[in-house]
Symmetry: C2
Subunit: 136 residues, 2 copies
DNA sequence: TATGCATTGCTATAGACAACAACAATCGCT
DNA sequence: AGCGATTGTTGTTGTCTATAGCAATGCATA
């Protein structure tokens, strides 16, 4: 079939993102995580007492939609909340959450390394800066 | 906030794809199209009498989910179906569909050009080959 | 030519996700 | 003390995708 679409960077971007996201999702599901879960765990691990709102801003997830996500991570015993004042609550990893986060990091880092290996060496180092120019 | 995530190509890939897809979606909505619609119109335009199944395979959309998509394009008067045999039906653009497709192409091509311009020149030409190495 | 398997188009359903509006409580600034 | 902004939350909606199933047809081959 004639298909001019892959010549469009925007289209290839979407397809590549879908394909790789699918792969990563499959690997993370082995340890019971979705990609969002892993992102949240990593951010909470690096930023003790971050608030749900701040997390949402960083990840471009609306406040309202953070609720079920955090509830699940809390129910699993990976994060807990501690009141910062009468209104805000800080998030932090439990011990089991820290272990889970390390697992997730291992999976992700292995995956990222594989991704880069698929790219011909002459293009490899340009991907990240090019991508970051598109959204940051 | 400390955020190690943008250092992961896979994460940046997803974020860049979301950001750019959102922008393109907004522009395409000006002419009443979603991105899938535009993809389908372009493919049908390049491949007269392509079947719904073949389209789905090319775009990674399941047969069942093509139905409402194509129904809408047909209801809008942009595509029509002609029986190829007793079972398969070929898709083709109407005249108004061809006009709509040209509009979509103009928007997409302008958008893609802008995307590339955002990327520092030394990285620009590496994006497409790097992306295509990830999913094709 | 007849049989069996694959394919096509479609219906119906369920789950995941994101957007949106609204609300009470609280914070922080003036 | 008052007021606008922020936080966490509920509830709802629409969109998208996966899945299973079905009747009809095509295709290959025995």
């Amino acid at each position: 079939m004639r298909d001019p679409l892959p010549a469009f960077p925007g289209y290839s971007l979407r397809r590549a993102a879908n394909a790789t996201a699918g792969e990563l999702a499959s690997r993370l599901s082995d340890i019971g995580l979705k990609q969002v879960d892993a992102s949240i765990l990593i951010l909470v691990g690096e930023n003790r007492d971050v608030t749900a709102s701040a997390l949402g801003r960083q990840l471009d997830i609306q406040r309202a939609n953070m609720v079920p996500l955090l509830k699940r991570l809390e129910d699993e015993g990976w994060i807990f909340r501690e009141p910062l004042d009468g209104k805000s609550q800080g998030l932090a990893l439990t011990e089991s959450g820290e272990a889970k986060t390390r697992e997730a990091r291992d999976i992700i880092e292995a995956f990222e390394a594989e991704l880069l290996e698929r790219i011909p060496p002459e293009h490899r180092d340009h991907l990240l800066p090019a991508l970051n120019a598109l959204w940051r």
